[in-house]
Amino acid sequence: MTNSGAVLKTYSVVLLFLALRAAGNSSMAWGMKQVPERMSMNPAIYLHAMLNPFVAMGIAALILALLTRMALFSLADLSFVLPVTALGYVIAVYLGKVFLHETVTRQRWLGALLIFAGAALVGSTTPDTTPSLEGQE
């Protein structure tokens, strides 16, 4: 595979991960707010909460997101994966406001924009930062 092909593949996996996590987080947050019992150290309460369909769908999407991220780790370094997937924080603020009707302050939006700018800056560097056998860097 060419280098640009590998980079394209890496970004495709990043997009898949972001979509899965955004959908999973929103579905779970929505579902958890419908669960009457407060969560505690008792595992039975968590299992019962998982019977809520939105919580269950959220968990399914988040498990797929976890597996996608593990695949991503084999394609790129942790120090690349973490900043780029930080876009998910902006997406979560947006979805929280639009779908969950949360109050989002100007300060929170400013923070979200900073996260986006930082993630874009990091995304403009090449994913694999560990020196290869050919010594290219």
Binding site: M39, L67, V122, T129
Partner: protein, 119 residues
């Protein structure tokens, strides 16, 4: 209580990410096709540290479930990004990954954003 949950999420996430990154590098490149996922599951079963990483991820996950029950998603998700700085430092000093100036600057901007979002 909400900050205790955030602390549990952050510590469990950091441990999980370090173990996963370390083990997946050793496992070699994975793909996201159906066959790729089957091979990924096989890899997971063969690596104990990877299983510990996933268990740690589960702890983080349950704490997150508890957090989103009482707090807005637009707080819970950015607050969990507090793990980011710790992870970048550990990636450099434990995993010995190379962190360039540009990447470090981007990471710092993300950090500043996370502080504002969580505030």
């Amino acid at each position: 209580m909400k900050w205790l949950l955030v602390a549990v999420i952050v510590l469990a996430t950091v441990l999980s990410d370090l173990l996963q990154s370390h083990e997946m590098k050793r496992a070699g490149e994975q793909s996201v096709s159906a066959q790729g996922f089957a091979r990924l599951l096989q890899t997971i079963a063969q690596r104990r540290l990877l299983i510990l990483g996933i268990a740690s991820n589960a702890v983080s996950f349950f704490a997150f479930m508890a957090l989103v029950q009482t707090e807005p998603l637009s707080f819970a998700v950015p607050a969990s990004a507090a793990s980011f700085v710790l992870e970048t430092l550990l990636a450099k000093f434990v995993l010995h990954e190379r962190i360039g100036v540009r990447r470090a600057a981007g990471a710092l901007a993300v950090l500043a954003g996370v502080v504002l979002v969580g505030g």
